[in-house]
Subunit: 460 residues, 2 copies
């Protein structure tokens, strides 16, 4: 049987300020109406049964993954949570271990969740060929014919070709430009796509050989309940470095489809149609004498451009990026600085998703905070209490069931209710349309960490 292992735990930062630590790239709709994760699942539709699709992520992204995979009939039990990120070898090994316990003969298709592929039929044909090679005990990797001397990808130097695949002579990390140019000229070199196909048994056997400590630890995991205690002991290592570089069973097959890892704003930009001045405008934008400019907005602001060239402009309610088109890989530098400065703009958007819906901070001032809260039908927040703030709620759409102290009542649209400091309370949407509430918090301290939870549907 075929299984998919989709790696969806990464904190891709290259699309900041659209992507944030709490909303990484794989969950974003970048091209089309599906997220990259959803596109990844859709691409294997028919090749792998929904019950055999596993998604590796972590608790931070659990509710987003559940939400995004709901339409694909993937069971919640197939969402595997890593307590800590340990890079790709342990994540893949974990799935190989869990899956092989129920199906000794399982074939795994390992896919990153945040790449872009054009020509799905060729992709699927290629996977079928890989599955067939994997059945002979090979570790199959899909290699991408380089389209340019990119310094953004790892390379694989191939050896002999036999039986429709290449042997791998060497795995090479992201090169400098001079090396990349040499690799690009040499027909033996391929980009390392991070897509692999192998039997669970082959992978575990190679793990036993090359990463024996990991193999022992993985063998202690008999069900997901064991992950928590084993995981902290595992050393982080990538599958490329830990297995692929060392194994003699590598088979590279050239990918016959268009692929990009969408590693930067510019990589994404390259995929989008341009107007006659070479501009890509996805915003409320007024442009005068500008060319080669791409504007992406998640806010409502008017953006006006005068006489500018070759820029990428990304606007959100709390952060703006203005970047030279050819330097978008340096977004990483900005994110690193924001991270070390503990800036909230790196962590979350002003609109934050929650398992029960979302909220948007409209104003955060001394002594008060204003939020717009949206609660999905039939969902409720935790029963909670705040030590330092009171809350005023005005229902602007839908109907709320509100608990304050021992009282429960329905609060309809255009009505309001007051929650004094220190009162246990709960907000619930008993209806079938989204409930929207304006919340005005007042108090000496109005931050998220002033919360005491007594009961929570989402085990927080």
């Amino acid at each position: 049987m075929n299984y998919a292992v989709i790696l969806a735990g990464g904190t891709g930062t290259r699309f900041w300020p659209f992507s944030r630590e709490l909303e990484p790239k794989q969950f974003m709709q970048i091209i089309g109406d599906k997220s990259l994760l959803q596109d990844t699942i859709k691409r294997i539709d028919g090749l792998v049964l929904p019950k055999n699709i596993f998604i590796v992520t972590n608790f931070k992204y659990l509710y987003e993954v559940k939400h995004q995979v709901a339409a694909f009939r993937i069971s919640e039990a197939n969402i595997i949570l890593e307590p800590q990120g340990k890079n790709t070898a342990p994540a893949i090994g974990l799935c190989a271990q869990l899956i092989s316990r129920r199906d000794k003969d399982a074939t795994l298709i390992v896919l990153p969740s945040d790449h872009f592929i054009k020509n799905i039929n060729k992709f699927r044909g290629c996977l079928k060929k890989a599955i067939s090679l994997a059945s002979h005990g090979l570790l199959v990797t899909l290699g991408i014919k380089p389209q340019n001397p990119s310094t953004g990808y790892g390379y694989i130097k191939t050896g002999l070709k036999k039986n429709g695949y290449f042997s791998a002579e060497k795995f090479l990390e992201k090169p400098d430009l001079a090396k990349a140019k040499a690799y690009f000229k040499d027909k033996r070199f391929y980009w390392n796509s991070g897509m692999f196909v192998w039997k669970a048994s082959t992978f575990l056997e190679e793990t036993r050989k090359y990463l024996p400590k990991l193999h022992i630890l993985l063998s202690m995991i008999r069900s997901v309940d064991d992950i928590e205690k084993v995981w902290p002991k595992i050393d982080p290592i990538s599958v490329d470095y830990g297995i692929m570089e060392r194994s003699s069973k590598i088979a590279l097959i050239p990918a016959p489809f268009y692929w990009t890892d969408l590693g930067s704003w510019d990589a994404m930009n390259a995929l989008l149609p341009k107007d006659k001045s070479g501009n890509v405008i996805h915003a409320d934008c007024l442009e005068v004498d500008s060319s080669g400019v791409s504007v992406f907005s998640r806010g409502a602001r008017l953006i006006s451009l005068i006489g500018v060239k070759d820029l990428i402009i990304v606007d959100t309610p709390d952060a703006l990026l203005v970047c030279d088109k050819h330097k978008s890989q340096d977004v990483k530098k900005v994110v690193d600085i924001l991270k070390s400065n503990k800036r909230k703009e790196q962590i979350a958007h002003t609109t934050e998703k929650r398992p029960w819906g979302s909220f948007t901070v409209l104003q955060n001032s001394d002594g008060f905070k204003i939020k717009l809260i949206e609660i999905s039908p039939k969902k409720r927040l935790s029963l909670q209490r705040h030590a330092k703030r009171a809350e005023h709620w005005v229902v602007v759409s839908g109907c709320a069931r509100v608990t304050t102290g021992f009282k429960k009542r329905l609060v309809h649209s255009n009505h309001s209710i007051y929650v004094p400091i220190g009162t246990k309370h709960r907000l619930e949407n008993p209806g079938v349309i989204p409930l929207k509430i304006v919340e005005v918090q007042t108090g000496s301290y109005v931050e998220e960490d002033d919360i005491e939870r007594f009961d929570d549907d989402f085990k927080r």
Copy 2:
């Protein structure tokens, strides 16, 4: 006696998005802690008595002018309101007429309210010289030695020099670049600063000669009460075109101080100190490998720059400008487009000033609107009623006196009150600290024009 006539009715658009139709350049703090209007008044301190300083503006700007001139002990009666803008000749003529009725021998110093001048002592010395020349019946204009071949200024070609001033041979409108270069090379050419000194009687006499219809209409104005009925009959015309180009009494004296009309973001930028990469950063900004960039912000957003050069970036909560440094004069083009599209971003900021304080629109959605309202001590809004919306008010700072229907009550911080649709109501700050209120409007229509006023301290 010396009088000042300060022209403060213009709708300067060059500093969009900081300037808006309702908040033009003259009221902005561009350099230092005073607005350009306040700097203009401060520059003549001691030369003209406060009771002799007249400010010409219109009703739209009345409360802003009152607010800005409060510290200068200028009487409200000295704020002259034009019912419609008629360009400079009628505005100056109006003041000449009103002032000469009380002081036949008055000397007028005519000053735009939105220019920048360095070296105030030289400016004052120059004015004194101009006043002395004006006493001989001359129309004195201050000419600026061109610093570059600017196409942004009108030019004056001087003739003979005698008794410390030049005669004017020709007034020239803003030239194209070729002409500007020729003017710049020729030492006889000066920039037309728009600053004039003359006796009211001289000016009115020249008006009688060259603009006889205007003279007749002005002579019908015996007090400010007459303006309203005369003004619509007046044809708009500039003082340069109507008087200066035709009169034989012109005396140009070269200005010995640094002057700019601050006609663009770049002109302002030129005045500001740069960091070692040539950047001017007045914002929460994270800059990587950028140079020659100026960033001005009136919002709270983080602005990040990567590898960009020679840009002017201006950020506000509802509009962003990204402009090539050398094309900032084209801001006018953007404003013209916004005007013809009736965009609100051309008219007002999200924070709008009112005679009683200000309000900020935080969210404007279908069926509801959220505002943060700030009411100055001892001020109150009009007694009003809305046909299509209810209002929820939460007091977050200060104390409100609220009228709803026939009831009056005090609402303290952390308390709220509800105003149903169709209820007459009034909001008042009886205290001595600003009153801050979060207003949630709910209803099918939540725009500003749904208001019926019954009593208003500000005669709206």
